[in-house]
């Protein structure tokens, strides 16, 4: 087993928690991406099991259903030889009336080093980070941030295009309810990309342009300018009421289909954070077509999460005498 280390010149990881991309610098984001690239390189040469987190415990605290992210974090921790414990809302005593705080404190009392938390309420990981001695990794909080998803989207783009600066990236769909959108916006802007958010006017929050993005309600108008198009899932479960008249109408204006692909740049990259609603945001033809990097995203999610766990762990090591 090998312990991988990477250092980007002059940058050291100093943060105790990973709560969002808003609070990271461009250098810190690049450090995570470089560390992930190193893990990917090692995996390619057969170094899939590393000893870096041996003897530590990573708890997956999922207060909201998730298969992909939970599995990805769990596997990332195991690849780094950490012990893992999984708590899901249905299996924990949350359903017996225990508060969020009690649950988290109980888990910490079991000697957990890092807590990966997914919660339907924005800010829940921030509250935990104030309460726990463990490092907190945000695995998606409400409609706020999903930093590892943002990082893996950016990592995937960087893999295909080498750099982010100068690229035009469109985030299409439900911006209002999307934590993926916010993390992408922060990360992409910090690395120098131009970001357009595009969707029905009901799903684009007011003031979003203050984050430095351009706003469009017309996918066909921006299609030709985009190097990358990230198709956000319509979050039916988070919507307070109907935000558009019908799925058919949504797909008509904002769905990515073969006809639109043909009008896009010839090397356009199609991303989707998934799980995708096939036939809504994206037709199977596009999802499974040559422009799609959707499966790369899943693969890259693993090394991004390894990189995050690894960097937070190293900082903990430096902190303790």
């Amino acid at each position: 087993m090998t312990t991988a280390t990477v250092s980007v010149s002059g940058v050291r990881w100093t943060k105790k928690h990973l709560l969002g991309l808003e609070e990271l610098s461009a250098d810190e984001i690049s450090l995570i991406l470089d560390q992930a690239a190193e893990f990917k390189r090692l995996a390619a040469v057969g170094e899939t099991k590393l000893a870096a987190l041996k003897g530590t415990v990573v708890a997956n605290l999922f207060f909201e259903p998730s298969t992909r992210t939970r599995t990805s974090f769990s596997l990332a921790a195991k690849r780094l030889s950490a012990d893992t414990v999984d708590f899901t809302a249905s299996s924990s005593s949350l359903s017996k009336g225990e508060t969020f705080y009690d649950t988290a404190q109980n888990i910490e009392a079991m000697g957990v080093d890092q807590v990966v938390v997914r919660h339907s309420t924005s800010g829940a990981p921030h509250l935990l980070s104030k309460l726990l001695k463990a490092s907190v990794l945000n695995a998606g909080d409400g409609t706020h941030e999903h930093p590892t998803q943002g990082l893996l989207d950016i990592f995937t783009i960087r893999e295909h295009r080498q750099k982010l600066a100068g690229l035009t990236v469109a985030l299409v769909g439900d911006i209002l309810h999307s934590r993926v959108a916010r993390s992408n916006i922060w990360g992409l802007k910090k690395l120098g990309a131009r970001v357009i958010v595009c969707g029905p006017s009901t799903l684009i929050p007011a003031h979003v342009e203050r984050l430095g993005v351009e706003v469009s309600n017309n996918l066909d108008e921006i299609l030709g300018e985009c190097d990358c198009i990230n198709l956000l899932r319509i979050q039916f479960e988070r919507q307070r009421s109907a935000f558009f008249p019908s799925i058919r109408e949504y797909a008509h204006f904002f769905g990515m289909n073969g006809e639109r692909i043909r009008r896009a740049k010839s090397d356009v990259l199609i991303l989707a954070p998934g799980p995708i609603n096939r036939g809504v945001e994206i037709t199977p033809e596009v999802a499974d077509g040559p422009h799609s990097v959707i499966l790369d995203q899943v693969t890259n999610g693993l090394v991004i999460r390894m990189a995050c766990l690894y960097l937070l762990h190293n900082r903990r090591q430096e902190e303790s005498p």
């Binding site: 969020f100 800010g123 409400g142 706020h144 203050r210 984050l211």
Partner: protein, 424 residues
């Protein structure tokens, strides 16, 4: 026979346009008068450097009893009121069960008498169980002591019900207090809809939800001749509407809380539940409009909207935690900080909004130092600095957004019916 002389204080009584240094003389449970010439009394209180005013009245307080005694009891809530300088509070009927019948209103007064702290005036429900469907027995509630009617934090959403409620209460001369928010626009909202809600990914509550309901209620007040009191304003649009309604002479009154004056939606950046309130904290522009509304009399009253919650309820993620903060014990210093120290209001104007104005809305013979009235007096120390420490609250609720604030001014001595009930 017992007499009290409060000597040498700055007597501020907006009900009589008085603001001067003088002596206030009390006989038994009544006010005898100002500068009566009496120099001896059974009890003499030296009030030099203090403000002597009618006992403060808070017309928007939740005492939680019966039903939620873990959050607050009538005993702990009225003790907190006294500590904050209030001699009378009007309490919300949103208990469990709801105060929608005469027996419930009488129970509240019985518990208040047992506790023996400040005066409590119950508000009754507009609709049975606050369901918004059928009128509660409003006449019976009046006989049981209810001084006004409200469904507390549940807006009376149905315009037909509100119309009938305003018409019906008119015959008893009692106001309807509404929480002016359109429920469809506020559902599951956490904070003001604006830049910060977008940034933080927290579900927004648009200012328009309040403006629309205020406009509807004003139209209904005009239609019926009833008295609508609009609770806890938070928006510039609502202030505009009410200003115009008052200019037309309609029976519309309104209130604002100290936290809506002192804090903005930016406070939610730390995701702490003590900044989740209903209506939500707004922006500087809205605060400026609220202050202008206070200055020109559009907003009649400052209330605490005291909402105590047991720690385990508030110590939760934002979606699950209930909205609301305690306010009885911080109202006065926060008003001083936001309105007096900034020069927005004179002491006389501030005290009017805490005494004679709420008394007038509630239709109670309080809030004045006129001879023969109840000897409910608050003596305010306006200068001493202190630090807000929730662990020292008399209230069971520790859910304040002002923990750790350095503030000036507090209730020094509080007299209810001629007896000193609180002394700082």
């Amino acid at each position: 026979m017992s007499t009290t002389l409060i000597r040498g204080g700055r007597i501020v009584d907006p009900s009589q346009n008085i603001d001067r240094v003088g002596n206030l003389f009390l006989r038994n449970d009544r006010i005898e008068g100002i500068d009566t010439g009496a120099t001896v009394a059974d009890h003499v209180i030296d009030a030099a450097g203090m403000i002597v005013c009618p006992g403060l009245i808070d017309l928007h307080v939740s005492l939680r009893e019966p039903g939620d005694e873990k959050d607050e009891t009538i005993e702990s809530g009225t003790a907190a009121a006294l500590a904050g300088g209030m001699t009378s509070v009007a309490c919300m009927p949103d208990t469990s069960p709801v105060v929608d019948n005469r027996a419930a209103a009488e129970f509240v007064q019985l518990q208040c008498a047992r506790a023996g702290y400040c005066n409590v005036f119950p508000l009754g429900a507009v609709t049975k169980n606050h369901d918004g469907q059928e009128l509660a027995e409003i006449g019976q509630l009046v006989e049981g002591g209810a001084v006004g009617f409200t469904d507390a934090k549940s807006p009376v959403a149905n315009a037909e019900i509100m119309r009938r409620a305003l018409e019906y209460t008119r015959m008893f001369g009692r106001p309807i207090f509404n929480h002016p928010q359109v429920p469809e626009l506020t559902a599951k909202g956490i904070m003001h809809e604006g830049y910060y809600s977008m940034l933080l990914g927290l579900r927004g509550i648009p200012a328009g939800a309040e403006v629309i309901m205020v406009a509807r209620d004003i139209a209904l007040a005009e239609m019926t001749g009833g008295h609508i009191h609009l609770m806890t304003l938070s928006t510039a649009g609502a202030v505009d509407q009410i200003r115009r309604a008052k200019a037309k002479g309609l029976r519309v009154t309104s209130e604002v809380t100290p936290h809506h004056l002192a804090l903005t939606d930016a406070a939610l950046q730390n995701y702490e539940t003590n900044f989740k309130v209903d209506p939500p904290l707004r922006t500087k522009e809205h605060i400026d409009a609220l202050i202008e509304g206070l200055r020109d009399g559009t907003i009649d009253v400052i209330s605490s909207d005291h909402q105590p919650f047991a720690e385990e309820k508030k110590q939760n993620e934002l979606d699950s935690a209930p909205a609301g903060v305690v306010g009885l014990e911080t109202l006065l210093p926060i008003c001083i900080k936001t309105l007096i120290e900034t020069g927005h209001l004179t002491w006389s104007k501030l005290i009017a909004k805490l005494t004679i104005n709420p008394a007038t809305i509630l239709g109670i013979q309080k809030g004045t130092l006129k001879s023969g009235h109840d000897a409910d007096i608050t003596i305010i120390d306006p200068v001493t600095s202190w630090r807000i420490d929730p662990s020292k609250f008399k209230s069971k609720g520790r859910n304040t957004p002002f923990a750790g604030w350095e503030v000036k001014g507090r209730a020094h001595t509080v007299i209810v019916a001629g007896r000193v009930r609180h002394h700082a």
